[in-house]
């Protein structure tokens, strides 16, 4: 039912671009990331810490023979750390031409959003993390915070990550 509605919404406004967003939860808030940047979603697996790695790096995992760096998303978003549980996921994403993993509390669904449904985030942020937010959208009385993954790290941090 909801899918049909979404498909209809996709077909409806050709001039109003529709994007798909993968939603995940962190500390009781729902965030969305562009589906085109998501490669896969993994159950939590052991993350090997890397000595000397930046504070925002949790460690590395082995993904079918490839080493993927996992970012501490909670820390990055200025949220307190939490215990890993059954719903914890590692979302493998591609941003700034790098493949990384982000640790999230849970992954919810894929939603369709028109450009017109996205509002600007309140522009009162001064902290670094304020830059991550691409916009907000109200869906079923719940606020979806859209994250710009490319801005999750600064240029220097992306370079630092590439050299890890």
């Amino acid at each position: 039912m909801a899918d049909a509605k979404n498909v209809a919404a996709v077909a409806a406004g050709k001039d109003d671009e529709v994007l798909q967003w993968v939603t995940f939860r962190l500390d009781n808030e729902t965030y969305g990331i562009n589906v085109m940047q998501v490669q896969e979603v993994l159950r939590y697996t052991e993350i090997a810490p890397v000595p000397g790695a930046p504070h925002y790096v949790l460690g590395i995992i082995n993904l079918r023979g490839n080493v993927v760096t996992v970012i501490d998303t909670r820390s990055r978003f200025g949220l307190p750390s939490a215990e890993v549980d059954d719903s914890t996921r590692i979302v493998i994403i591609e941003a700034e031409k790098q493949v990384i993993g982000i640790l999230v509390d849970s992954v919810a669904e894929v939603v369709y959003l028109r450009g017109s449904e996205i509002d600007n985030a309140p522009n009162v942020g001064t902290e670094e993390s304020a830059k991550f937010i691409q916009g907000v959208s109200n869906r079923d009385n719940e606020l979806l915070i859209l994250v710009d993954l490319d801005k999750l790290l600064s240029d220097e941090e992306w370079m630092e990550l590439a050299q890890l």
Binding site: P122, G125, T126, F132, V136
Partner: protein, 328 residues
């Protein structure tokens, strides 16, 4: 509140009002001559606006309206004020047809349709208030003529003291906008009572689900959806008194309502709504210089609480500034 607490609160706000102007707000530096020209009221050195605006030949401020004592706490009236906001979606079609007389807010339960009607209530009451003023004054001069005289007196005073441009955020504009008798809503935040003129009140919304947005200042509580738009909710305690708002106090605060600021998308979270009363301009110690806190229009003497300058407050919030930050 005990007397000592009242006095402490009063002193607190008085202190905020009398704080010397500092760097970054040079435009608002008080003119020494102007200060000399002002006549202190003998209590705390402030000059109530009406005293400065006294007409020629009238050395003492006149008792404009005898009904100066605010009405007691009226929860029922507040509930009436609040309830329609939560039901607004279903009643939006009918709300424009209903009008309620000002007196009913304080005296008897009436189906008030929406908080946003406070402005229409205020408007309707203006004529009644003016009528009362006329009767009490027993003068043939109309209110407009009186205002014109006051304007002339103010202009003369300004010329006499050679004051520079009116600094931004100072309360003249607000004071001019208000009637001699105007309504204010009192609300509480972490034990502190604040007042907002009803003409500047955009509405009252019950706290529902406030979404935390990362990277925002500590005083930014989050976003709450209200009528299909996003309402920025301010942690009023953290904003107004950051120096006292420690973790312990923050934990103890239980926000229940959001006081909307005019037609902006900003709202102040508050713990409780106290009451809505009519007060006279002369019952407020209005801010006479810019100072560091343009958001504080003055202190209501009887209730001993700060009255907000909502436009200045919105301006600060839009700039992402805290209560102690200076504009520019």
């Amino acid at each position: 509140m005990s007397n000592s607490v009242d006095e402490t609160v009063f002193n607190y706000f008085s202190l905020l009002l009398t704080e010397p102007d500092e760097e970054g707000i040079s435009a608002g530096k008080p003119d020494a001559k102007r200060e000399q020209a002002a006549v202190p009221d003998g209590q705390n050195g402030h000059t109530p606006a009406l005293k400065r605006q006294s007409l020629p030949g009238q050395s003492e401020p006149r008792p404009v309206i005898t009904q100066a004592t605010p009405t007691p706490l009226n929860k029922l009236a507040l509930e009436q004020l609040l309830a329609p906001v939560t039901e607004i979606a279903s009643e939006v079609g009918t709300q424009t047809t209903s009008k309620v007389e000002l007196k009913t807010l304080d005296t008897k339960p009436v189906g008030v349709e929406t908080v946003t009607q406070a402005k229409s209530i205020q408007t309707k009451s203006e004529s009644q208030v003016e009528q009362k003023i006329k009767e009490k004054l027993e003068t043939s001069a109309s209110i407009k003529q009186e205002e014109a005289v006051v304007d002339k007196v103010e202009l003369a005073a300004a010329l006499q003291t050679q004051t520079g441009a009116i600094p931004p955020g100072v309360t003249e504009q607000l004071v001019e906008q208000l009637d001699d008798e105007f309504q204010v809503l009192f609300f509480k935040v972490a034990g502190l009572t604040l007042a907002v003129p009803l003409v500047s009140l955009g509405g009252i919304v019950k706290v529902d689900r406030i979404n935390h947005i990362m990277g925002r200042p500590a005083w930014y509580l989050g976003v709450q959806t209200h009528r299909d738009s996003q309402l920025n909710v301010v942690d009023s305690g953290a904003w107004v008194m950051p120096e006292k708002y420690d973790d312990e106090l923050a934990q103890s605060v239980d926000y229940q309502y959001i006081v909307l600021l005019e037609d902006s998308n900003w709202g102040l979270a508050c713990e409780s709504l106290v009451n809505s009363v009519r007060i006279l301009k002369s019952e407020v110690n209005w801010r006479t210089k810019a100072g560091k806190r343009p958001w504080l229009a003055g202190v209501v003497k009887e209730q001993m609480c700060g009255i907000l300058h909502v436009q200045a407050l919105i301006e600060l919030l839009n700039l992402g500034l805290g209560s102690q930050d200076s504009i520019g």
